[in-house]
């Protein structure tokens, strides 16, 4: 499968940073989830998306309780 080269990925990085700064704090989470659904649909590979969700969870602080 084709992957983006680093320069392209860097553009995504920057565009996303700018987009995240244009919305409210609550809007950031929703924006990222919308983006995930859009990209998952286009990717068309459930197993790969599920593996990526696991990967994205790595190295983040876990919380003990639901907020």
């Amino acid at each position: 499968m084709m992957v983006l080269n680093f320069a392209e990925l860097e553009t995504v990085y920057e565009d996303l940073a700018v987009a995240l700064d244009t919305v409210s704090h609550a809007g950031r989470e929703v924006l990222l989830c919308k983006l995930s659904l859009l990209m998952a649909r286009e990717l068309g590979d459930l197993a790969q998306v599920q593996a990526m969700i696991q990967t994205a969870k790595d190295h983040l602080d876990t919380k003990m309780q639901q907020d």
Binding site: V30, C33, K34, S36, L37, L38, R41, Q66, D67
Partner: protein
């Protein structure tokens, strides 16, 4: 609850009848019953009608002196219409109820989804009908009073319960005093807070969902078709959910999630109800006068018994399971429970089947409940997200749905088709050569001629559809046999071709349909001896002659 100044049962559209307990001499004289049904709600009455359909009498106990006021089911689905029809109680429903096929979902005032429930010309009835529970109970009651086989004892509470050798002993307390009576079998149809369940030491297990909903009925002259409306994040209830259903007599059901910052106590005060409803009506463009009929509050639960049978006690309806309303499966599942348990028990009591037939009741109906839970849980999580994660994903899907049709499907309430039962028990193992039909599912319907459907020609008990040249005289006379030749002769070759195409049956094959309309067996080749052996084993049907 009703507005201040109204009597407890003072309705804008329904006159509650009042019943009295039976005479003392009568109850002391008639103490031996085949079947005792606890609860004269819609499920208990329908169970009695189903037993009566097969000639089995029952006595029904209810601690109230009138119909339910606190329970307000409104949606009756197609499969329930067929069940009511089989029990001879459908007539008045056809006159009164409002049929519908469509739902619309709105997000921030914009329509994001219009869903159509599965429907075609092959079906006799629409996928769904709206009618108030009081009318449902009234119509069932009318059918019950017309039957010689059913005795209902109002104002009669079951206060004691013990096992006997051949069944159960019930202690009843009515307005005239206490008495004991015996029943070979008991149907517990006494609702979500089932006293029988408590007396039997049984507990419901499962989950409660966090979101609270107010449910209000208003009367207004609102011009909108019978279409289920769901509103997310509307002006009248920001970030929350609203459901709107039309009912007969200009009554509208409005369910709304408690607005932010409103406690349960505050939300159910009449002034809060009036204020919230007024906002919602403005939101949907209704500016005319309206009257408040009734309101209540609820939260979604998915709770069920681990086993719907406890010896000679069979739990049917809400006593066995509590399902969230998003998917309209409370009443409909209860009716399916009652018909399932009813035809099986009637066979046992009529000496036609072994008692082991009752073993299939709980796996079949609990399976249906768990299937409802799976779908309803998805709906409930969308309607009232239980945590931040579910909320963010729901908001993402709704936001996307504004300009992406595919995302609107997340808001589909998943009002499902009837459950498909597993093979084994009361569904026979499929013949290897059979294709096209789904064993354990409701038999698909088909039109035979103008206004006549396949479902209309099925027998009261088992029916066998035979597609080929078979000596039908050899089939057990308890089974109503319908051959392809009979269909062709009466309704024409085109009708037969439609039926065969719809059922996907090959020439030479046979189908067995249960008394509840489910497909019990399918054979690619109509080998009567083999069929007879299988039917004998599962249902105790006699050998062929």
């Amino acid at each position: 609850m009703r507005p201040e100044g109204k009597g407890a049962l003072e309705s804008l559209y329904f006159e509650y009848p009042r019943f009295a307990a039976p005479g003392r001499a009568h109850v002391l004289e008639h103490t031996q019953h085949k079947v005792a049904i606890v609860g004269a709600g819609p499920i208990g009455m329908f169970a009695a009608l189903t037993l009566a359909r097969f000639g089995v009498g029952s006595v029904v106990f209810d601690n109230k002196d009138t119909f339910n006021d606190g329970s307000r089911a409104i949606c009756v689905q197609r499969s329930s219409y067929h069940a009511l029809e089989r029990a001879g109680a459908l007539g008045p429903f056809l006159e009164k109820a409002l049929g519908w096929t469509k739902g619309r979902t709105f997000y921030r005032g914009k329509q994001i989804l219009e869903f159509e429930m599965s429907h075609s010309d092959s079906e006799k009835y629409l996928p769904m009908y709206n009618i108030q529970q009081q009318f449902i109970e009234q119509y069932l009651w009318d059918a019950v009073t017309a039957s010689d086989l059913i005795e209902v004892r109002w104002c009669s509470e079951v206060v004691g319960f013990g096992d006997t050798d051949g069944g159960a002993r019930l202690t009843i307390e009515d307005t005239n005093g206490r008495y004991d009576c015996d029943a070979q079998w008991v149907f517990a149809a006494d609702g979500a807070r089932s006293p029988v369940r408590k007396m039997r030491g049984k507990r419901l297990n499962g989950e409660n969902f966090a979101g609270r909903y107010v449910i209000a009925d208003v009367q207004m002259d609102h011009d909108y078709p019978t279409i289920r409306r769901a509103l997310f994040d509307s002006e009248s209830n920001p970030d929350k959910t609203i459901l709107i259903h039309r009912q007969p007599d200009n009554i509208w059901r409005i369910d709304y999630q408690l607005p932010d910052g409103q406690s349960e106590e505050e939300a159910i005060r009449e002034d809060s109800i009036r204020e919230n409803v007024a906002k919602i009506l403005r939101d949907i463009g209704y500016a005319g006068p309206w009257e408040l009929e009734w309101w209540s509050i609820y939260s979604a639960n998915t709770l069920a018994l681990d086993d719907y049978r406890d010896g000679r006690v069979i739990f049917i309806g809400d006593s066995a399971h509590i399902v969230p309303i998003f998917g309209v499966r409370g009443l409909n599942n209860g009716l399916a429970d009652a018909e399932n348990a009813g035809w099986k028990l009637a066979r046992v009591l009529n000496g036609l089947s072994d008692e082991s037939l009752m073993d299939s009741y709980s796996p079949e109906r609990r399976g249906a409940t768990l299937d409802v839970f799976e779908n309803a849980t998805k709906s409930a999580r969308f309607m009232t997200p239980p945590s931040k994660g579910w909320e963010v994903m729901r908001d993402a899907a709704l936001s996307l749905s504004l300009d992406h049709d595919w995302a609107g499907d997340f808001a589909n309430p998943r009002q499902m088709e009837p459950f498909t039962y597993s093979e084994g028990g009361a569904v026979l193992t499929a013949d290897a050569g059979v294709t096209g039909v789904k064993l354990g599912a409701v038999l698909p319907n088909e039109t035979l001629s103008d206004g006549v459907y396949l479902s209309d020609i099925l027998g009261n008990g088992f029916t066998m559809l035979v597609f080929g040249d078979v000596d039908v005289a050899k089939i057990d006379d308890q089974v109503e046999v319908i051959s392809s030749a009979m269909i062709a002769a009466k309704y024409g070759e085109a009708a037969l071709a439609r039926v065969q195409a719809r059922l996907g049956t090959q020439a030479g094959g046979a189908l067995l349909i249960r008394p509840d309309g489910y497909l019990a067996g399918a054979w690619a080749v109509c080998d009567l001896e083999q069929i007879a052996r299988q039917m004998k084993m599962a249902f105790g049907l006699g050998e062929t002659g």
